[in-house]
């Protein structure tokens, strides 16, 4: 994960009226919402009144506008870089925005680059009562500079993890530290997982996958899909969902719920939620299964997507209908249908 800031080059020979510098921030994800906490220096040549600067935050999903910049209580951060400015003022712009990430990012994002832009804006109303009137041409120029100021940073974010190996570990990012001109760090929680691979028949309960973590987690939703093809014919799908959550666990094992039976007249595998546990199919059945686990860990909601192949060989007997000539001399206990 990284981000960059489009800063104005700190060229002392250019007498800018306004620029921004030294961005720090934290992005925290809680309950599917993104909480931003950005702070940066606004440097201008005028002692601008409080609430005269605004800015719009644009991320792909929504625009959050008119957030006032607050004056930093700590002005000790003035550095030599800005001492040459005649009217220097440091603003510590600290705000928090809640973005409903999961609501917007309904489609799975796998290592998606999400661009953020912060557009500076200007509210001239406070200036009307400002005692040190600024000349109109200078004000226009400064406002123009304000409008042209923007921060941008890109987050590499994923809300889905594709588990491809039989045994591996998932890193769940839950907090991003945003630093100017450096690679930012993210804090992670580990989830270990294991997928079973079935090749032969089993009389045991079929375990599809299991996950564990040092942190407690909740399983919000489970979706299981079996894609199968019998005799290499058209691929069909058997699907079911479990919406009842599993709360506050360190370990979770997902077994195949219910059992299946095979309808030879339609070549469809039928899922029965009652009865034995097990996946039954003819031996000439191949395919793969997918499992989507929607989990919440440390207030981060993440979808883990498992995919595993299966191939039943020599597991299930097949049948044959034989016709043999016979002699019947009494039909009295026979039933009769007329077509």
């Amino acid at each position: 994960m990284g981000y960059y800031v489009n800063e104005i080059p700190n060229n002392k020979n250019i007498n800018k009226y306004f620029y921004i510098n030294k961005v720090n921030g934290i992005l925290e994800i809680k309950d599917g919402k993104w909480f931003y906490n950005l702070s940066f220096f606004c440097i201008n040549n005028f002692n601008l009144p409080l609430n005269s600067l605004l800015f719009d935050l644009c991320i792909p999903s929504q625009t959050v506008s008119e957030i006032y910049i607050n004056l930093s209580p700590d002005q000790s951060a003035i550095t030599n870089d800005i001492e040459n400015y005649q009217y220097c003022k440091i603003y510590d712009c600290n705000f928090q925005i809640v973005v409903d990430g999961d609501k917007y990012f309904e489609q799975p994002l796998n290592q998606a680059m999400i661009s953020h832009k912060v557009y500076m804006n200007f509210d001239p109303n406070p200036l009307n009562s400002y005692e040190n009137k600024i000349q109109q041409d200078i004000l226009d120029k400064m406002m123009n500079e304000v409008y042209n100021q923007k921060l941008s940073f890109d987050l590499i974010y994923s809300n889905i993890y594709y588990a491809n190996n039989q045994l591996d570990c998932i890193d769940v990012d839950y907090k991003y530290d945003l630093y100017s001109q450096s690679i930012s760090n993210s804090k992670i929680i580990n989830i270990n997982y294991e997928m079973k691979n079935y090749q032969n028949s089993t009389n045991s309960i079929i375990t599809l996958c299991s996950i564990s973590s040092a942190n407690y987690f909740n399983i919000i939703k489970t979706k299981v899909d079996f894609f199968y093809s019998i005799n290499k014919n058209e691929t069909k799908n058997l699907s079911y969902e479990v919406n009842a959550p599993t709360l506050k666990v360190n370990n979770f094992t997902l077994d195949f719920v219910g059992c299946t039976s095979f309808d030879s007249s339609t070549n469809i595998i039928i899922h029965n939620l009652d009865g034995l546990r097990g996946f039954f199919s003819p031996k000439n059945c191949t395919g793969y299964y997918t499992v989507e686990l929607l989990i919440e860990i440390n207030s981060v909601i993440k979808k883990i997507f498992f995919q595993n192949n299966y191939n039943f060989k020599d597991s299930i007997i097949n049948f044959l209908i034989n016709i043999q000539p016979t002699v019947i001399n009494d039909l009295r206990k026979f039933k009769k249908v007329i077509f």
Binding site: D263, P325, I328, K333, K336, V337
Partner: protein, 157 residues
Amino acid sequence: MINLNKKIISVISFATALTVAVSTIICAIAVTNSNDVIEPESNNNDNPLDRDNNYKKYNISQKIGKNELINEMVDSIIQDNNYIYVINEQKFITTMNKVIKDVLKNDINFSNNYNEFVIECSYKIITNLNIKIDLVWYLPNSQKKYYDQFDLLLTYY
């Protein structure tokens, strides 16, 4: 008096026979035209060995056995913690209806008017893996009838 009685008996017999014949035709039409589930009826007194010269033995069973649709009568069920295959009676009836008509359609001797044949399928379920079948088929306006008898056995491999 005797002649009169004979005439009355003849008239009554004729009327009864006519009523039975009409009822049979109506039933046959109803059964033929119905799209509903075909309900089997009991078969009380019929000895196939007494069939007269109008009946001709015709080996249709092997073609029935080779027809791909035949497997549709099989269900898989759970029994004693195992999956097993069985012949489902209702599926057997609907499948035989389809299979026999399909076989007649593809048999050069019947393909011209395969859809006009009346098919009487008498069956006895010995086990859920074995059914005995006596099959008779004929054209409604023809004296000539065809029949075949066979066992249908479901085997595992």
